[in-house]
């Protein structure tokens, strides 16, 4: 508290008027497009208006500062100043130095309640709120000169603008005062909310815990009391022994009030007008985060430590950073080398949310996995996601863009940390049933890809259920995105499993679900889920090519799980997917299927070899069913692409085998050759162009010309067209020595 004034200095703004004037003009500049130009075009009407506004605002402040006695409500001067303050506040927000004056007036009870309420309601910050103004207003609160309603309004205001207060050291020193307000039944929920925001570890004392427990006994289990208790428990688990529900719907009601909307307007306005404003106005905001998201409505707070002695620190910085025991202020953390040098004395910012935009702090967080850190972030995120969600709270709908950006930031952080946040997961579970599948679509679906691996039972009812409902009733593009994000989810799980296997030695604290069998079950469940919805989706969308592409993309990951991720699990695609791809009209799908079947083969052969050689003691081995399934598919494929006997040889129960008798009845000529590498509908165009190239004189397109040597040349032609999947499949699965090829399936 080196540089702070005594907390109760009503005269301060008067003494510092000079300094204030510069401040004010700086604040005025902010509202302009180009601050530098202000000197030149001083005469423009816009400027004139700003000047006038500034003057009248200054006058208003002076008036409120000097007013001594109770003034009648009808006093025109009072009314005029009030209106000035209100209009400026709503348009541009109030400069930092205004708060002291206005708070003092509003809480001292000089005016009638209506005036006080109006003043409080217009306290919209343009940039920051000085801490001492808040401190002095708290002292007014303790004197008890203002009515209950004004007190309540003040608390609501404090909660709403909490993140705008520049420092919180002194405010935290008043923790006891706030705590004493708990006994007021009306104020209790808001005081709890405020304490929740304010609490630090050193604030948690046995007598406070006792008091809270008493209150709970008296008032019954209230969510706000439980929230506060849970924070206490978080800091000092030994003091709070009662069990609290880990997951709550909503701890606190939104404090409401007019400020939130006004703050947004002011922010949007300022954002539109200047690029530089934020970092200028928040002296302590770290420059890294200024690039993005600072100006959004959902503010991710700038990181600041609880230190007042920044200036001093800065001087000391180069002298003896190593020897000092004090923590390194995060504001000064700008380079990676700084992080490495100071990693022993870093302290997380008081507002955990700020780490999201600070990659260095994320690095730091990654190194020091601490439950309290996770939980602090969890609480903040939970609250924010819930309050700002645009489809759960209809009033937020105009802020969709901001919410989108916020979700985007969270997703990027998840990617950075390579793990999902449990608050995002819970948010997903809670909001998916209410989601329309439209608003913030890509952001929400991306969240799906970071669902942590541990939650097995929840994922079934909370994710698969609502997602399937949305999936079936939505457009084909939505279906594609869902499959895509489920593919990413699978990949993230597999990656997580690989890293987990690597670090098996330090596997403390992993729940039973991350054991290999638990993992295999969850992965299998996911793959089967995708198999089921894919089958249905292909039916609903009549085998849409794009959709099929996304589904096969998913199976490209599935078919390689054994070799690439060392997971003893292989699941074949369901017939609904396999046959849709095999008989598709598009060569891209067919080519992809060929590649997938080739990878399945490689994986299965390796597994078989490992099993036979018994090099490893295998915990799991693939069931014969998998091999049989693969062989059935392979037979069908070879029959369909190579030997032209798809209808005869297919032995899959859901396959396309048909009686010759029946086929004859269709009166299709040459039904026998209608499926091979030449006549397959996906490849026929290739055959056509090949014929044109090989027999330029022959105008009657005769596919039967492609046989024998021509067949081989045609094959080369296909490979040259980029059908690499087909190439690897045919080279691996078709025995080319005898011309009448047959499938070389594994010995089961």
């Amino acid at each position: 508290m080196q540089q702070s004034q005594s907390s109760k200095t009503p005269k301060r703004p008067l003494q510092l008027r000079d300094a204030n004037q510069t401040d004010l003009s700086a604040w005025r500049k902010k509202g302009r497009t180009e601050p530098e130009k202000s000197v030149q075009d001083h005469q423009s009407p816009n400027d004139q208006k700003n000047d006038n506004e500034e003057d009248s605002l200054k006058q208003a402040f002076r008036y409120f500062e000097e007013v001594q006695d109770r003034v009648s409500l009808k006093n025109s001067i009072l009314q005029e100043h009030l209106t000035t303050v209100e209009s400026v506040a709503l348009q541009r927000g109030l400069p930092p130095e205004g708060f002291n004056v206005l708070l003092n007036v509003a809480l001292s009870g000089k005016f009638a309640d209506t005036v006080n309420t109006r003043i409080l309601k217009s306290l919209v910050p343009a940039s920051v709120i000085p801490e001492d103004s808040v401190v002095s207003s708290v002292s007014w609160l303790c004197v008890g000169k203002c009515s209950g309603n004004v007190q309540l309004l003040f608390l609501k205001w404090l909660i709403t603008v909490f993140d705008f207060i520049d420092q919180k050291e002194q405010l935290n020193a008043l923790y006891g005062f706030f705590f004493s307000f708990l006994q007021d039944e009306k104020m209790c929920p808001f005081v709890c909310h405020l304490l929740y925001l304010l609490t630090r570890k050193e604030n948690v004392k046995p007598f406070r815990v006792r008091r809270l427990l008493d209150l709970q006994a008296k008032m019954g289990t209230q969510s706000y009391l439980q929230a506060l208790l849970s924070v206490y428990k978080l800091f000092c688990p030994e003091l709070v022994t009662i069990t609290l529900p880990r997951k709550m719907k909503a701890y606190f009601r939104d404090p409401e009030g007019p400020w939130k909307a006004a703050i947004n307007t002011v922010r949007q306005r300022n954002q539109g007008n200047t690029q530089v404003s934020r970092s200028l106005f928040l002296g302590t905001a770290q420059p890294q985060s200024q690039k993005r998201k600072w100006n959004t409505q959902i503010s991710i707070p700038a990181s600041s430590t609880n230190k007042n002695n920044l200036e001093e620190d800065r001087e000391k910085e180069c002298v003896d950073l190593y020897s000092t025991n004090e923590s390194f202020p995060v504001e000064q953390l700008q380079t990676f080398s700084q992080l490495v040098q100071n990693i022993h004395c870093l302290e997380f910012p008081s507002q955990m949310g700020s780490v999201l935009t600070n990659p260095l702090l994320l690095h730091y967080m990654n190194c020091f996995r601490d439950e309290s850190v996770d939980l602090r972030l969890y609480y903040w995120m939970n609250q924010t996601l819930q309050q700002e969600c645009t489809w759960c709270v209809a009033d937020n709908s105009q802020y969709e863009e901001e919410f989108k950006n916020f979700l985007e930031t969270l997703y990027e952080t998840e990617c950075f940390l390579q793990e999902g946040f449990s608050s995002c997961e819970e948010f997903l579970y809670k909001s998916l049933p209410l989601w329309d599948g439209f608003c913030c679509r890509s952001q929400i679906l991306r969240f799906v890809s970071w669902i942590p691996l541990r939650s097995s039972s929840e994922i079934k009812s909370h994710l698969y259920g609502p997602l399937a409902q949305l999936f079936f009733t939505s457009s084909v593009y939505f279906k594609c995105s869902v499959i895509e994000s489920l593919k990413e989810l699978l990949q993230n799980w597999l990656n997580c499993q690989v890293t987990h296997l690597d670090s098996e030695s330090d596997s403390e604290g992993h729940s039973s679900n991350t054991t290999l069998s638990g993992l295999v079950n969850m992965v299998a469940e996911l793959i089967n889920f995708v198999g089921r919805i894919s089958t249905v989706a292909l039916r609903l969308e009549s085998s849409h090519t794009l959709l099929l592409h996304f589904i096969l993309d998913f199976y490209e990951t599935v078919c390689d799980m054994y070799l690439r991720y060392d997971l003893p699990l292989l699941i074949m695609p369901p017939p609904g997917v396999f046959y849709a791809a095999l008989l598709s009209m598009d060569s891209v799908n067919l080519n992809q299927l060929c590649y997938i079947m080739y990878r399945y083969r490689t994986n299965l052969v390796t597994a078989k070899e490992n099993e036979l050689s018994k090099k490893k003691i295998l915990q799991f081995k693939f069931s014969n069913q998998t091999y049989q399934e693969y062989n059935k598919y392979l037979t069908a494929m070879v029959g369909c692409l190579w030997t032209s006997n798809a209808f005869q040889k297919d032995i899959h129960p859901q396959g396309i085998s048909m009686d010759d008798e029946l086929l004859r009845k269709t009166t299709v000529p040459d039904f026998k050759t209608s499926f091979n590498i030449v006549c397959h509908p996906a490849l026929m165009t290739y055959a056509f162009f090949y014929l044109q190239q090989a027999f330029p004189d022959d105008t009657t397109v005769d596919f039967s010309l492609i046989k024998g040597k021509e067949w081989n040349r045609y094959l080369e032609y296909l490979y040259l067209q980029g059908l690499n999947g087909l190439k690897v499949f045919i080279e691996s699965s078709v025995n080319r020595i005898s011309q009448a090829s047959h499938s070389k399936s594994e010995n089961v």
Binding site: R253, V393, P433, G465
Partner: protein, 175 residues
């Protein structure tokens, strides 16, 4: 007190009929308008009723109804009761995939005055999917309209190989 039956009339060529049952101000009307604005390749006919039974005197003029959507406003306690009463006038065969519950007003969970468990239970008891939406929001209304239209298309039999019953089973079996 006529019971609404799904199969006692012949379907019309290339058209589907949707019945919206709901008493929440002009929301059914708005939703119907949004549905009609959507692109589709069959004629859509929408009937709106505040409650069932439908008046019997004009019954012979009414086309066959392919799907019924019961709208429940969570801000209005009465709306759930209204729907529950109306359900008595629906033939059991409608519940083989041709009924859907649309819960509206989820954007204002704070003003919720309907027991959500009761809503879930309703869907379970009548083997019908429960969709949630906020009709106040333009975007959500459009996407809800699209979803309902897709379901209507299936209920009217315009998606080859997918019957209403099959689709209904899918919608309810994953949760």
């Amino acid at each position: 007190m006529a019971v609404l039956r799904p199969f006692n009339k012949l379907p019309e060529l290339n058209s589907a009929v949707l019945l919206l049952v709901g008493s929440e101000g002009d929301f059914p009307q708005k939703l119907a308008e949004t549905i009609l604005q959507e692109k589709r390749d069959f004629t859509v006919n929408i009937h709106i009723a505040t409650s069932l039974p439908l008046p019997s005197e004009r019954d012979h003029l009414r086309p066959r109804i392919d799907m019924i959507v019961f709208m429940i406003d969570i801000k209005n306690k009465h709306s759930l009761k209204n729907v529950e009463d109306s359900l008595a006038h629906v033939d059991a065969r409608f519940f083989l995939g041709k009924v859907c519950f649309l819960v509206t007003g989820v954007g204002r969970v704070n003003c919720c005055s309907v027991d959500m468990n009761a809503v879930w239970k309703l869907g379970e008891n009548y083997c019908s999917p429960v969709l949630f939406c906020e009709l106040e929001l333009e975007g959500t209304r459009v996407s809800t309209a699209q979803r309902l239209l897709r379901m209507l298309q299936i209920c009217a039999g315009y998606v080859p190989g997918v019957s209403a019953l099959y689709f209904n089973t899918l919608m309810t079996s994953f949760s």
